[in-house]
Structures are given as C-alpha cells and as structure tokens.
Amino acid sequence: MALDNMKTTGFTQVGTTPNRPDGLDKVTGRARFGADVTAPGMLHAVIVRSPHAHARIKRIDTSKAEALAGVKGIVTRADFATGLTGENWNILENVMASDTALYDGHAVAAVAATSALTARDAAKLVEVEYEILPHVTDVDKAMAPDAPVIRAGAADGSVPEGQHPNVVRYHESGHGDVQAGFDEADLVIEDHFTTEATHQGYIEPHACLGILGGDGKGELWCCTQGHWNVQKICAALLGLETANLRVTASEIGGGFGGKTAVFIEPVALALARKTNKPVKLVMPRADVFKATGPTASTSMDIKIGMKKDGTITAAQGVFRLQGGAFPGAPADMTAMCAFAPYALSNVHQVGYDVMSNRPKQAAYRAPGSPMAAFAVESVIDELCGQLGLDPIEVRLKNASKEGTKASYGPTFQRIGLVETLEAAKAHPHYSAPLKPGQGRGISCGFWFNHGGETAVSLALSEDGTAQLAVGTPDIGGSRASMALMAAEELGIPYENIRVTIADTATLGYNEVSHGSRVTYASGLATIEAARDAVKKLCGRAAAKWGIPEDAVKWENGCAVPSGPNAGDFDPLPMAEITANMGATGGPIVGHFEATPEGAGVSFATHIVDAEVDPETGKTSVVRYTVVQDAGKAIHPTYVEGQFQGGAAQGIGWALNEEYIYGDDGRLQNALFLDYRIPVASDLPMIDTVIIEVPNPGHPYGVRGVGETSICPPLAAIANAVSAAAAVRLRQLPMSPPRILEALEQKRDG
C-alpha cells in the first residue's frame, strides 16, 4: 500500500487522551458483556466434559437426563456437520469429541434446560462410558519413543523422519555458520529452559446466546475477539450458510488471544437448532481453565557465543512446544522471535509443535515469543555477567536496526529497538541504587504485529457528526483511538464521533482482533475511510461553488478553496454540507475495505528490580519500567495501559502462574485460588516510556502495541532474581518452592 499521505507531525487530536466513549457504560454496570443478555423463552445450557485425559467414548446414554423435567434438548457430536477437513475438523473435534476424549475437560455432550440449575443437574445424569487410554501431558515425554500416540497421521510434511507421531509440525530457519561462530567466541553458554502452560486469565468467562431455526437462519451474541471468524466457523461446524448467521460481538471482558478461538458458540447454536429456542451458554471458570486455550508449555535449549567485547558470534535454539491435543502450537513463531532483537551473522533455530493430552493451546499475547525471550535473554544475561559487561551496552552493541538481516530472514525496515535501549539506559530507574537483597534485571522483547482483512464505514450525519462502524472488538479502549483518528482527519471534535463495533451483517469481513492489529489496521482503515468521506465532502463543496473538485481542500473541518486561483469562497463547514446531502447527491459515507500489509514489528526493553525472601522463596517485584516502541501513540494513556497490562501478565507468568497436571492427567488447579494471577498487592506501579519510531506502513506511523509488552518480563525477572539471590532459575514459574530449592542447592554447593 502506497502511503503517500503519511502524517507524523502537526496532530491536533491524535496524541491527546480524551475519555473513552464506553466509559460511562462500564463504570455504571450498564455495559453488556457476553453473559449479560437474555432472550424471551431462553434456555440455559451446560456442557458435559470428560474427566479423563485420554479415553475412548464407548457409549453416551442421555435417557436419564432427558427424563428430567425442564430438559429440552441434548446434543452430542452427531448433531454437528460431518465430512469436515483440515482446521474446521480440528475445531469441531475440540468443540465436541467424536470417539475419543483427548484431555481432561474435553466436551462430549451438552444439555439445554429451562434453568441453569436444571441444566446442571441434567448434565450429571448424562452417562458416558469410557475406556481409559494411556496419556501424556509433558512435552519432552510426549516426544519420547514410548509416548502414547495422541492421533496417528496428524503430522504434516514438515516433520523430519524419525520423530514421534506426536511431533506434528517442524520449523527450521537461520543463516550463517553457527559452528564457525561458536569457534570465534570467547565464551559459549548452553542451557536448558522450561516454561509451564499459562492461561490468558481474562476475568470474563466465555459466554454466548444463540438462536437458530430449522430454516438455517440464526443470530449469535458472544464475547469474542473476532465475530466474523466465529460466524465462519459456526457456519462450517453446523452446516449453515455463512451469511445466514448474524453474529454480534458483546463487550468483551478480556481476551489476550484466548478469545480468538471458538469453543462454545457452535454448541449453543446446535442446542438452539435442536430445541428451536434461544440458548444461553456461559462457561464456568473451571471449564475456562480446562477447556479453552492456554499457552503451550515449552522445553528449550539455547546456545550463544560471545566475544569479550560483547559481540554475539553465534546463537542457536531448539524450541519444543506442547500445544495440547491438536496441531498448532506456535513453535515457528517462538523460533522466529527468539533472536530477532539481535544482528547475528550466524543463527539457527528449530521449533517442534508437539501434541499431548491437554486442551488445544490458543494464542496469548505475542504467542510463543515470551518463552523464547525468557531462555535467550537469560543466557545473554549470564554471558554479560561472566564477561563483566553491562547488559544494556551488550544489547546495544548487537541490536537489530534498519537494514539488519533479521534472525528469521528478511531485512528490517525502520525499527526502534536501539531507541528503547537508549531510553532504558537513560531512565533514572537504570541507575537508581538498589537496597541490599535486591537485584536488577533487564530484557528485550520482540513481536511481529499484524495487519489483516479490515472493513470500516464512516457515515456522516446531517448535523455534521459521524458514525464510525468498525469490525474489530474493542478490548482495551480502541474505540477511543478510532474516534481520535477519524476526528483528526475530519477536523471535527472527538465527541462528535460515535464508534460502534458492527455486527457481521453490517460490514465486510474483519479479521479477529489479534496480532496487535486493531489500532494499526482498523486505525489505517478509519483514516482511509475518513479521507474517502472528505473527498466526497470536497466534491459537494466544489459542485456548490461551481469549481473543479481538485480545487477544493479540507481544513479544520471545512471545505476551502485550495488556492487563490480556485476562487474566493468562505470556508464551508462539514455540518453545512451534510445538512442537505440528500439533495446534493445522497448520503455521504466513507469506506475502506482492504488488507493492510504494512504492520510494523515492535521491540521493548524492560527494567525490573526484584527482591527474594531467602526464608520463603517469595520474589517481590519492587520496581518496574517498560520502554516500548509504539510507532505513534494515538491515545497515550491506553498505550501505557497496554504496556502495564502486558508487564503484569508477564510477572504472573514468571513468578506464579502454571497449569499443574497430576499423574492422572487431570488439571489440578482449575480455579483462580490455585492458578494465581497477580493481585494488586503483588505489584508495584509500572512506569512506562513510550518510544515513537514511526512505522512506514501506517499513515500516522502506528505499530501494534498490545503484545510486545509481555515478551521481556519473564527474562527480566529471572535476571533480576539472579542478581538478587545469585541463583539462576531456568524453569518457570519461579514459584517460592523452586526458588527455595535453588537456594538450597546453592548452599549445598
């Protein structure tokens, strides 16, 4: 896309921090989230789930459940489409098991009844006879020769011969000669790292309300990061025509990648079709943990060589990702992100996507990248420590910049890693004295960001206000950013723009809100739609003045002659043009429908001070600073919010959060009490520095900001712990028992 209209200075609205348009609804309890709607005659649904990690389903007897008063319908796999292939088949198999339950929590049936309590009672009456099969939930064990096979034939052609059938995808990339590079190094460190699966931990459980008749026409309300994707998948899984299912996205109570996937919506619709009544389905929290999409767990080997002056001579990594009972763990992304911050002549990375008896992993903020950063940045920290080098200087020395050949292949365009490192170095935090027992860690992080299919429409109202319809659910205040960008282009007040997340019947296809794409892609689309509307406004002014269209330009919300030769006319405000647009050519609507392909990669550098209690092994984060390149911050407060939220999630991943599976293959901590995400008293204030190195692929220079912030914390904290307590944790989370064990090992020499 040619961006001949790039604007990076002279903003009047962009860069300000007005109140978000949905603020009032959200502080008064009025905002309608997934579980907040009802329909007349609505039924409530409950899903029956496998208690076994791996079991053949021999028989499902629903007769007792059906006999319960109030039960209106029960569905099993037989109520869904047949003959699916590829990813649709995988999704259906995950949404409702066919002949084998593949993980603890795998859906096997669902009940709809007149009340939630009745549905719950009925679910207990569904009798399922299982034949228990051997299971495996650990990534290294799942690759071992004696591991039970989750599904034969699931591997694709990328997997080299000799691998276990649970290895289903393989990635290998890099350049140069790593062996020669290691030979050049003064110090080579090679280590093994592991991370546990974590959950996005959004506070709103998945919820939906489905209506579907025998005529194949349906309505669906749900909390999702992408309702066109839900529409497409539900249509496929139920054998419907896509356009006949209208999907409306509710307010979304957090997603972080976890609501890019589809879990319950097809089930609600299948029950709705079977009962011919609206069906509401809300996931209990335990089901959210057991049966949505946590991250992959990992097992990683990293080897890096460095010269005494800090030059990295070679780097290699092997990344094994356990992604649950289906292909799709982001082993490729992990491998490609691992060394991206560094300009390396010799680099080699390998990724394995490995299946196990766990739920199908889903995206979580920069999927795959945080784990890689944990391992790589820990090794770099060790190298700096052993060579007596400053960790920021070493990173600056090796930092990727414009023109660097990225570790994953192509040449970087303009990027802002160096700027984040320089800002971190200059930040008072980096030179602040530490108290005894505290340590400081830093880490860099990288994420690609994404564009994707995008459609928006900007309809002008007769009074000179504007209605902007976008198709990307607003997860963190994006409606405010969109309104700012539209206001900037139209030259009207921010308050005069109403932004709506349109349903699937109103706009063309919009890709899911993922990949940090919303402010980039929907933002670009909004700007282009506004420019389209402005062109039409100028056309109407030109017609009124009787001068050529190109003799009119748009300034401060008014059409004005473009120069002295164009004629002498008073500025014509937008409201005067729209007041009688019906009579001057009809409604004025700006459009954009395309696939922006200029998403700019982004980098961050984090600084963290941690304190380790040698008695309990508890690590406290006492100071935290995020420095990240946003390209251009449209609404700086919400950019800060993304930085802070990502950092907090990374802190949880580093210190406490983990999926714990028992020997029986069952998840042992499927509630927030035991799956411990950071609470207010765990965290300090999180300081932020917004760097703005414009992305050449966006009219204002925007890069995505949502994901990169979760990449550095894992390693930054591990590095701080190492500095504070002189123990190197290579296993996440660094929970108190693990820290204590490491401290004991150190004491025992």
């Binding site: 694709d156 052609g157 990328s158 080299p160 393989y170 990635h171 290998e172 990339s173 890099g174 996005q200 972080f256 990648g257 976890g258 890019t260 982001p330 490729d332 992304m333 490609m336 390998v350 995206a363 979580y364 903020r365 920069a366 999927p367 994953y408 292949g409 192509p410 040449t411 970087f412 365009q413 994420w447 690609f448 960001n449 994404h450 564009g451 994707g452 299919e453 993922h514 990949g515 940090s516 794409r517 696939t595 392909e597 200029g598 998403a599 990669v601 692929g697 995505g704 949502g706 994901e707």
Partner: protein, 81 residues
Amino acid sequence: MVEVNLWSGLRPLADGKDKVEVEAETVGEVLSGLVQAHPGLQDAIDAGVSVAVDGRVIASSLTEPVKPDSEVFLMQRLKGG
C-alpha cells in the same frame, strides 16, 4: 526472475535448496511459481505462509507487487494474540 528465500525447514521439499528463482510480479505469482518449481511445497504453502518483500511482511494479500531485485522471504503465517 525473483529469488525467493525459503526457511531451511523447507529444504527437503525443494530438492535441498533454500533459494528458488521464480518468474513473478506479485506475491501470488511467487507462491504459484514456487509450487510449479517444487510441487512438494504445495502443502506448506496451503498450510499458511506470509511473504516478506523488502522487509515488509505480507500476510495474505496475493496482489502485492514484487520486483526482480526485491528481497523475498517465505515465512510461516503469523498468528497473534
């Protein structure tokens, strides 16, 4: 001709090569050219790829232009959170 760089995991599917020359003026033609030269690449391309042209990662658009001197890398398709 445009030189297309493959990720090294694809080598076994491209007769051991990690650079393939194709006749192409668009991203779409890069992909079809690759399959024509090495039919073994079909599945990997169908599974989802992005194409980096002079450092810009093209995630889906087949109509993006490619010049003879463009730096072209085949990459696995990105999925974000």
